[in-house]
């Protein structure tokens, strides 16, 4: 689960990491008030930065990050950013923070390294740009240090990272931040805690010489599997950021991803669901979604899955592919029959059910006059043909 920058910063502050002050605004007026406090309050700054709060990368490039020097300008900029849509996501909140006087930018992140089966601390002295770009252009510029799986990230490892990034002048702060990232990762069950940029900034107004190492941006991705022991994380999920279909899918324990094609797919198991999409494409069609009904799905979950698929108006045909193991074929067949009796529009459907209770399922489907297929390849071909026929008839 991705969370917004402001929420990520709140989590990091709670772990004692140095994050400059910020406020969140939902309207231009709120942004103006926040900017006013920062521009005219105690320890005032010359400028504020206003940043769109959306769960997609590339906000800066899209014009979602701007500087303002006055209350009027802050309100005006916030108004513009709050009206933007970045990569399809409408901006509903902005973060307002003092503009930093940056001396140098770094990258520092703690991430779960699947291959090594350890936590990886990753750093670069080339901060402020996407780490993937650095990795491609100059892989040697990335410092990688693995935390011990049983002992964690030790002080000497954090020091090594600091020295290799050239942060010797800020050693204590850098070690604190490096260890803090790993601590935050474990405390919140995060897959990723990324600071980009981590920056040396000048503080105290114009002409100041005092330098400090701070986390200017923060990106945290939480492990969905750990939500059961972090009930407070549910509040970080912003319903505005989610399509209604995603909310509905989660309610029914269905794994669903909307795609752009016309063949709706309903499958049990993630690997088989991807394979079904691949075979639809191979047969000349385009999958409309990834949908895994999970193990042991009963009739009601099948009906909910059918509704998710049909709610997408582009869907011209539906392919159901079930290999029963824990899931019983007859349960799925009952769900399909029930769903069809209630469905809002008539879309051709091709059903393939094999494995546990396949014979019972076949009889139910035959009695209900469903189009069926024996093999997965045949099912994909039939569904693509049905979609073409439906398009021709329309």
């Amino acid at each position: 689960m991705k969370i917004q920058e402001a929420d990520a910063k709140k989590l990091l502050l709670a772990q004692g990491l140095p994050v400059p002050p910020y406020e969140v605004a939902r309207s231009p007026a709120e942004a103006r008030a926040a900017a006013s406090r920062l521009l005219h309050g105690h320890g005032s700054v010359g400028q504020v930065v206003i940043k769109a709060q959306v769960l997609v990368g590339g906000r800066g490039k899209a014009g979602g990050v701007k500087l303002a020097s006055s209350d009027d300008e802050a309100e005006h900029i916030a108004d513009a950013i709050l009206g933007m849509t970045i990569k399809g996501i409408p901006v509903r909140k902005v973060l307002v923070a003092p503009a930093a006087d940056i001396v140098r930018e770094y990258y520092l992140a703690a991430v779960l390294d699947r291959g090594a089966r350890r936590i990886l601390l990753m750093g670069s002295a080339e901060g402020g740009v996407e780490i993937e770009q650095v990795a491609e252009a100059n892989p040697a510029a990335i410092v990688r240090i693995h935390a011990d799986p049983l002992l964690g990230l030790r002080d000497w490892q954090a020091r090594e990272m600091a020295f290799r990034l050239g942060l010797g002048a800020h050693l204590k702060a850098a070690v604190g931040i490096a260890k803090g990232l790993v601590k935050a990762m474990l405390a919140y069950d995060a897959d990723l805690v990324e600071i980009n940029p981590l920056a040396v900034v000048r503080e105290g107004g114009p002409g100041a010489t005092e330098e400090r190492l701070v986390c200017l941006d923060a990106k945290v991705t939480l492990d969905d599997s750990a939500l059961f022991r972090h009930p407070d994380h549910e509040a970080l999920r912003d319903p505005d950021d989610e399509a209604p279909a995603d909310v509905e899918a989660r309610r029914h324990d269905i794994s669903f991803i909307h795609l752009d094609g016309t063949i709706g797919c309903m499958v049990n198991g993630a690997g088989l669901a991807m394979t079904t999409m691949d075979l639809v494409k191979r047969a000349g069609g385009e999958p409309a979604n990834f949908l895994d009904i999970g193990g042991g799905a009963k009739a009601d979950r099948v009906a909910a899955a059918m509704k998710l698929i049909l709610d997408e108006p582009k869907v011209e045909a539906i392919l159901v592919n079930i290999f029963g193991g824990i899931t019983r074929g007859d349960e799925v067949a009952h769900g399909l029959i029930e769903a069809r009796s209630r469905q809002s529009r008539d879309v051709p459907m091709v059903v393939r059910i094999v494995g546990t209770n396949a014979a019972e399922a076949a009889q139910l489907l035959e009695e209900a006059h469903f189009a069926t297929a024996a093999s997965l390849d045949e099912a994909a071909a039939k569904a693509v043909a049905a979609a073409k026929a439906a398009r021709g008839a329309a």
Binding site: P149, F228, A270, G271, M274, T275, G324, V354, G355
Partner: protein, 294 residues
């Protein structure tokens, strides 16, 4: 022989009195697996599976009383990491964890502890392993198998069933089918299972079924190129049409930063001598094309 599970498997089921544990323990026993013990803390002294399997409070008790050497875990996600450590401490050598939804960071110290103890963990979030005609541990339907000499290793559940059924329908039997699990952090990788197959005299061909995400398929391919050069090899990779940045169900199945793509995995496998199928149903023909005669 076969690998991981066989006639010498003495199985202990952790969570045997739960709904899932009871159902699958019964199914494993019906397949012919020697289920010797069950463990549910607080239910020691009971007897499960119609009086045929004693239940113990701790894994150590079960091992001491029955000589169990393999464990299969059906404990819910919150307690499963601890169940793995308990089995390890009790001296169980081969541990299958079927449980899905374990927080990834919980597995970091657990896999390290299992490794340090010299035990082997398969999973979590895996369907288990079957050595047809001998024994099955986990939830793979017994009916899809046929005895034979092809070693199957896969990251998926139902996709494995699909591929194995296609092989069985074509008259190609399996030595052992292993589902290693779809989670980001798992106990045994493709590479580790390939090494076991390489050392098994009854395995004469390999089928590898992978998915987008991570680099485990590539790593296994590189090893196979050097160490399984003369063995017929076929593979399938799911997720050719998956878009970047979208997690496809499994916590592990995601293409990020251009890494973990199906195209990259297919290229690595082909370079290593695997015949890569466009559909799981093509695997039997590709195995024969690769030189498999069985």
């Amino acid at each position: 022989m076969s690998i991981l599970v066989g006639r010498d498997t003495r199985l202990l089921v952790q969570g045997i009195t739960g709904r899932e544990g009871e159902f699958h323990a019964r199914s494993m026993q019906a397949y012919g697996t020697n289920v010797v013990a069950g463990v549910t803390p607080g239910k020691g002294g009971q007897v499960a599976l119609d009086g045929s399997v004693p239940v113990f409070d701790t894994v150590a008790d079960g091992v001491r009383e029955t000589g169990a050497n393999t464990s299969c875990i059906f404990v819910p996600a919150g307690g499963a990491p601890d169940a793995i450590l308990e089995a390890t401490a009790a001296g169980i050598g081969t541990i299958f964890c079927i449980t899905e939804g374990i927080p990834a960071l919980d597995m970091v110290p657990v896999v390290a502890a299992v490794e340090r103890a010299g035990a082997r963990l398969i999973g979590p979030n895996c369907p288990g392993a079957t050595s047809p005609g001998r024994a099955k541990v986990g939830i793979i339907p017994g009916s899809i198998h046929r005895e034979g000499s092809v070693g199957v290793v896969s990251r998926s559940g139902t996709l494995t069933y699909e591929a194995v059924q296609a092989m069985t329908d074509a008259g190609i039997g399996q030595s052992t089918c292993v589902g290693i699990g779809g989670d980001p952090i798992i106990g045994s990788t493709f590479l580790e299972v390939l090494k076991l197959f390489a050392a098994d005299p009854e395995t004469s061909a390999i089928v590898l079924i992978g998915e987008i995400g991570g680099a485990a398929e590539e790593e296994a391919a590189a090893w196979a190129a050097a160490n399984l050069a003369d063995v017929p090899k076929a593979a399938f990779i799911a997720g050719r049409t998956a878009p970047e940045g979208k997690r496809m169900g499994h916590a592990g199945a995601i293409i990020s930063g251009g890494a973990g793509t199906a195209a990259g995995k297919v290229a690595a496998l082909e370079a290593a001598g695997f015949h890569v199928a466009g559909s799981p149903t093509e695997l039997p023909a590709l195995l024969r094309e690769a030189g498999y005669r069985g």
